[in-house]
Amino acid sequence: MSTTVSHDIDRVPDAAELERYRAEAREWLAENMPPLDPRADPNQQTKEHVKDLARRLHSGGYSGICFPREVGGAGLTRSHHRVFCEEAADYELPIYLGTPGLSIIAPPIMEFGTEQQREHVAAMLRGERLFVQMMSEPTGGSDMAGALTRAERDGDVWVLNGSKIWSSGASRADWGLVLVRTDWSVPKHRGLSMLLLDLSLPGVTVNTIKMVDGSEEFCEEFFDDVQVPHECILGEPNDGWTVANRLLFHERQSVGGGSPYHFNRPKSARSSARGSDLVGIVGRNGREADPVARQLIGEAHANELVGRQLISRVSDAVASGVLPPIAGSLLRLNTGVTAMRRGSIALGLAGTEGATWEDGDDADHPADQFILRQASCIGGGTTEMQRNLISERLLGMPREPAADKDRPFNEVRRSRREENTR
């Protein structure tokens, strides 16, 4: 098994090198990338637009700053990536390429993939291919290893049947990484495989899911006798959980803000607070002088600043081995609880004046955003799962008893009412 990257992304470049890099990036960005419309929702970028932005980045050598040169990356360091993101804060970037593609899916392909499979990463960096992860299932909840979607070997192909859900942006993707069950006679973690799936194959159906805010970023997929070539298995057959675990690690890094592969947008402390809609809400309600409102503004700003400082610290600690990688769960947890609190603060600041808004005004209304508040504590692994991981794997506390732990998967009970499905 090879390592994720073949160069040292944790090397600390000297200041002069970084400043040179910053100056070049600044100049290149101004000439090549479209300026950011701060009101635009990056989830609305179309497939073609994402690919166009990615192609532009690639032409400048910026699409995979921390990826090795052999797949078309720049072979540089976290520091270069951070500098580039700082400079790119006011430009439009191919957000969907960065997440999940480069930050969540590419690393396990680099780690477990054959040379041929790594070509997928090169194609992503060139802006030619967009990837989606397909892990969750309608009946599965947080229990990804309980996958019921099955693939059965038939000569040179695997025949895929079942369905996946919560695949972010699958309707824009060309390929997917799918966790499937390939052996039902062993305990659940030991009968899984990871498939690289061409979504244009016959039998694949992708539907969008409408969320409570009307967005349709998430998708549900159905697989009906899809014939997947054998060479599309990533890692060893029945060892898919090992691959999935690495993918989940990178997902936590990415959602928590600690990934060196996605395009995050650092904001200066002052501008983020001043520019946030909280200050806007207080201003519209004429409550700038209200001590109660001011307390909430102060609290929200502190939380936001501390969250960024936590990301720096934990990323550094994991990179330098002070903390184990699972510490990334702290970032994911904090992202969730901070967003949750922010949603409540916004609603409190909005007050009765925020209970209604003009028809057709499609700005972010606190009362409407409040309806979606829990999404920040569910997507990318629930906060409950993060707390399990932190207590069990970071603090070493006893694991939760799992009724399905050492039983063959086809003997595990899946609901109060249902009989086993197989």
Partner: protein, 373 residues
Amino acid sequence: MQLHLDDDQSIFVDTTRRYLADTSDIATIRALAETERGFDADWWARGAELGWTSLLAPERMGGGGVSDDAVSDLALIAFERGRLIAPGPFASVNAVVAALATSDAHDDLLARLIAGTSVATLAASERGVRWPGPGVTTSLSTVGDAVEITGEKITVESAAVAEAFVVLAAGPEGDRLVVVPADADGVEIAPRRSPDLVRRFADVTFRDVRIGRDAVLELERSDLERVLDIATVLQLAETVGVLDRVLEFTIEWASDRYSFGRPLSSYQELKHRFADMTLWLEASKATVTEAAAAVTKQPEQAGQYVSAAASYVHEHGPELVQDCVQMHGGIGVTWEHDIHLYLRRVTLNSLTCGTVADHRERLASMILEGAGR
């Protein structure tokens, strides 16, 4: 919600419960979301026949409670409506009926409200003013034989279909409630959207609106607050109904749903959250029941009881529903799952008829300055 109902109350509640079960399922609510007024006029009128709008009317017009406490009777209906997130301006219309019952100048309007053939709603909230005042800026002045109203009200329910508004305005002798026909010159209605899918609101501007003097209900501040407290407590009872239903189906879900080979409800951390939610719900039922009763039976304490209930229910209610969303995981934030409809109602209710902050400030003013009735 009340622990013990007498026979008349049981019949009264059962009738509404059956009517709502037959007419107001979730599919109907989703369909109503696409309509302009959010509720069906005939449906409302049939609800009125069941007593939804008449209990606070004067006896001469057939009003009066099922028990000796009409506000508590209506709170029972509000609770049932909450369980099915039924549409219609229930709390606001009943507050208007309570207001109009203090005069005989508006009996025609009152009769239509009782019959459910018309609606009239409260116009009390203003930008930058804490519910229920002090500090109302909409002005009431006398001009010859008439009075003139000027100001802007927000979150006025069902404004587009209302026949009249009962407007909270500051007059020369203090705050008053004034009955303003929706079609009077100078009334402008600007429709607004809310998080709720079936309840409709507008900002209403009154620009030098001139109407007859008998439009002014001569209520002192304490009687005026009684009207607002009725709206508040009925809305709270509706919220408690929503919470009751949401916790019920979420507990069921947690028992049915297995994760890692065992039911969600076997996970201690979730069990403890369900224990907290059960406490919040039971305490909410306790405080709203007592607040509703206080309006009639302990009028000097009613303001305090209503604001304490609002502080408690609006603090814990939205959190309870959000926690139930969290228990559902991903499907809890999809459009297809019904839980967001309940969350929308609870969220809306926590912002109209005063926020948590408004009611806490009101309690503080009672405690620190002896304000309120």
